[in-house]
Symmetry: C2
Subunit: 560 residues, 2 copies
């Protein structure tokens, strides 16, 4: 008997999962909420773009979640912690942490503990939008090949935007930081006891998708380019990394200190860190032709294409990175900046309701037919990640009368996110990435049958659901099982491990042809709005409306 | 001492007002809610376009409101009912009533009492939108001069659309109706005891604004044109009227029956009936250069231009009718289909709140600066009456994020109606109707200081408020005082009567220059949306989006 542990760092909590390698059975699991901030997120009341996290929460959560999951697994008769053969970790990202020379986050030093800039810069922090726009502009002029791999637009959510913003707004923190480490690389390094940022094994997932890393141009962006952003950024390059790795390479082996804390065998391999959705894609059974959609507060879509094939640059797709998900494949990542978050906003902020109201509106909305409300919405309340890659877009609701009910609005918001999902699928196929199967994972995919049916009706595709409710942690455990290898009781390859350890749920959602026809008409109207307000249709002259409103808003706020 | 009575038929209730002619003092007032339907409106759960009223409510309300107002006035020491020298009536419109040969509403006959088509077709009934579009189309082809006076588009709220729709959906009612009388003409005829529809003195206000009446083409639309709509409509023309009158002509004198019921002197003159907002404009002191805005659930704007001047046809303005408001002037009417109704929809339907929430959101919204929310809305939840004249337009809200509060939305909706108001002012001035003063009346103008300040800031104009809270009833009383004449204790002219009987409140709202500058930027964006979705900007290709959604909605509803 052999087992691996997957550890999944989400936005509000960390989850550990103990998995049997032979069949994917989940023997123990435990979730630990981050104690700091608002549900684990440090906020700034004066700037709603800001979202940080306390690195101490990660360490606390690591010990508590793994020991609790092991305690649960130990109650199964054939399990013992001594049989654990590997550990994998996935996290949110891009979530870079400023660290000192010993790879210790600045925030753990009392001197910096209260400084928001010294914390982990959480993926959804949007404070760096000006820097992102500048990086896009400068790269377009001087390094167009950098942009080609990230959909032509560098995002405010990503590594360099955040570090540069830190330099601009908190130069003392920037100066104190010896290096910056992605959370996805930091946690495996902690388990491996790596005490030098230059020794941290960096995953190509974070590097390639967020840090403009590519073997084609010898790793990270060159110093000359970084100096064009700010001369102070250039020297940082040598204190980061030269090479990033796919999941064939171990992040290290479990160090004595953490082996003791967790009650696990010292020296077992630790998988390279990947982003949650990437390991989630593995845990959901990703393979060529399969699109994995992780549907939660936001959405992330993953596809892979054999590395033997030539893959075109796809405009508006967040990233195409070799080895980012599975070794031997290009990993393709797309996503929607807000999905569940939009429904939550409407129910909690606008209607001042709770889970009960979600259920009530869902029930009412389910009784409606497509198009019956006359409403149409754009799903941009948190900007548009794919295919417009523009954080300065905002939401839109159209068609309301004096009789429009809130259930109708609720349904229109669900439909808006489904139209956004369809735009992504169409863009992928347009550029040769064929999608023959869609597997969804995440809480919404499991619980919201109305949303799943609407997604099927709008996309015209069958929507399947991943077998595990903890697809990300399971994917991390799969990666650990492959790394440990067949002789230790793991697996010889990812395809073997996925076949044994992952599955699809029996329930699936099949498109209703009549509904699909109606939605085709409405989707055409969605695209009219999408293209006009997204700036695709230049003649519509509306592409600047949302941005100009944000500019006025910012100017007005400055007057305070 | 001389007094007149003004009677104001609103959407939910009727109000009577006893006024002293020498100084406009209001000695007695009483309001009677209509007992039938939902707040006086008969609805059809299956068709939210339908809005009818029970004519019996009007008769009941007439007796109860006048006698109660007189009872109150009688407590003043120098008043007696014998000193009342005239009565004026204003009503909503176009609100046509099918009547029999004796001028009795069909609905008062038990045979028809339960038939919705036999009731008064309330102004806001929108069931006739197909007929309205057909009238516009046929008139554009065969009688373009008909359209020139009503903003190029005939409305579903108007006389012929409603009668034709009755013919289409309730041919039995149409066949049973000897004639149709506007509520504004019906009530004075009741007081005068007129028992033949052909003897009813019709006001040029309703005739000119709603029934395509004009002396230029010899009265109502010709039979050939009506036959093009439907051959059955043509014979109705001779059972309607040949001439309509301005306020220099009396509707009649008080008949014995109603003199007894009300306790008033028999034979006193009854002013010609006008629409509420038109007499309201008089009660608010309208004169050339003054725009009177009646702000309530919807908005109506009135201006006048000397009949000696040449007035251009103004595209998108509901009507320009000689004598419609004041004799000797062109009356110009514009309006917004929903104002207070939009705020009520948001608070009551979306937020499920009440007056307390209105107050709370107003307080929060008042603390915000222009543009601070990043939101922008179109005020079309009930279509657009002016300047697009299109009931098949719908609402739009743009700029929402995951942090948008409901107070921000509330403020954006107020701003949207103010932008709509500005579009009307600009259109009038563009066509030579100069506006040097704006006087507002109605409940919202009196109570909602936030809205009034936003209107001032957005239009860049001082917003004044009419002195009377009952401007419509006061205007009816003014008209009665002029009709009664100076020798009876009334007045020699409208200008004399307005000078003595009407006033402006001391409070007024002056534009804040800084806010006006910001709003100028936002108004430019409003116009981008307005013109794109209103179909003005053909290249934007968005002018059909709302209409196509309504079409899909209607098709889907038919499938039930």
């Amino acid at each position: 008997m052999a087992f691996t542990i997957g550890i999944d760092y989400g936005t509000n909590s960390v989850r550990a999962l103990v998995v049997r390698c032979s069949n994917g059975e989940e023997l123990g699991t435990a979730v630990v909420d981050y104690p700091s901030g608002n549900k684990g997120v440090l906020l700034d009341p004066g700037d709603h773009h800001l979202a940080r996290q306390n690195p101490a929460d990660y360490l606390l959560g690591l010990e508590k979640s793994v020991t609790a999951a092991l305690a649960q697994a130990t109650q199964k008769k054939d399990f013992s912690a001594a049989q654990v053969i590997g550990i994998g970790v996935d996290t949110t990202g891009s979530s870079p942490i400023p660290v000192n020379e010993k790879n210790i986050p600045l925030a753990l030093d009392p001197k910096w503990a209260k400084n928001l800039a010294a914390q982990c810069w959480l993926w959804k922090d949007h404070t760096s939008h000006r820097e992102a726009a500048e990086i896009t502009r400068i790269a377009a002029e001087h390094r167009p090949h950098y942009l080609a791999k990230c959909g032509q637009t560098y995002s405010s959510e990503w590594f360099w935007s955040k570090i540069w913003h830190c330099l601009n707004v908190a130069p003392d923190v920037f100066a104190a930081a010896y290096s910056w480490v992605e959370l996805a690389d930091y946690m495996p390094a902690v388990l491996a006891g790596v005490a030098d940022p230059r020794q941290v094994k960096r995953g190509v997932c974070a590097a390639g998708h967020k840090a403009l890393y590519a073997p084609d141009w010898n790793g990270l962006p060159d110093e000359e380019f970084l100096a064009k952003l700010d001369p102070k950024l250039a020297p940082l390059r040598t204190r980061l990394y030269e090479k990033a790795h796919d999941a064939t390479v171990a992040a290290g082996t479990l160090c004595a200190e953490w082996a003791k804390k967790l009650g696990l065998p010292e020296g077992i391999p630790i998988a390279i860190g990947e982003f949650d959705v990437h390991y989630g894609a593995i845990g959901s059974g990703i393979q060529p032709g399969v699109l994995v959609k992780a549907i939660g507060t936001s959405t992330c879509d993953c596809a892979i294409v054999s590395a033997d094939k030539k893959v075109a640059d796809i405009p508006g797709i967040c990233g195409i990175v070799k080895g980012a998900i599975l070794p031997g494949y290009y990993g393709i990542e797309a996503g929607q900046s807000a999905v569940g978050d939009i429904f939550n906003w409407f129910v909690e902020v606008v209607c001042q309701g709770d889970a009960k109201l979600h259920a009530e509106l869902t029930r009412e909305a389910a009784a409606m037919k497509p198009g019956q409300s006359g409403l149409l919405a754009l799903d941009w309340n948190n900007g548009n990640r794919t295919i417009l890659v523009d954080p300065r877009l905002t939401g839109l609701l159209l068609g309301q009368t004096l009789h429009t009910s809130r259930a109708e609005i609720y349904r229109a918001l669900i439909e808006a996110t489904a139209f956004g999902a369809r735009a992504i699928i169409e863009r992928l196929e347009e550029y040769g990435v064929s999608i023959r199967q869609i597997v969804c994972c995440g809480g919404i995919a499991e619980k919201n049958a109305l949303l799943m049916q609407i997604y099927a009706d709008i996309t015209g595709r069958v929507m399947q659901v991943a077998g595990s409710s903890q697809a990300c942690a399971l994917g991390s455990a799969v990666s650990a099982a492959v790394l440990a290898g067949k002789e230790k009781g793991g697996h010889a390859s990812f395809s073997e491990a996925q076949a044994k350890m992952t599955r699809i749920k029996d329930v699936s959602y099949t498109p209703n042809a009549t509904n699909h026809d109606v939605y085709n008409q409405i989707y055409a109207l969605y695209r009219e709005l999408h293209d006009a307000f997204g700036g695709v249709t230049a003649s519509a002259n509306l592409g600047q409306v949302m941005k100009k409103l944000i500019k006025i808003q910012e100017d007005q706020k400055k007057k305070n």
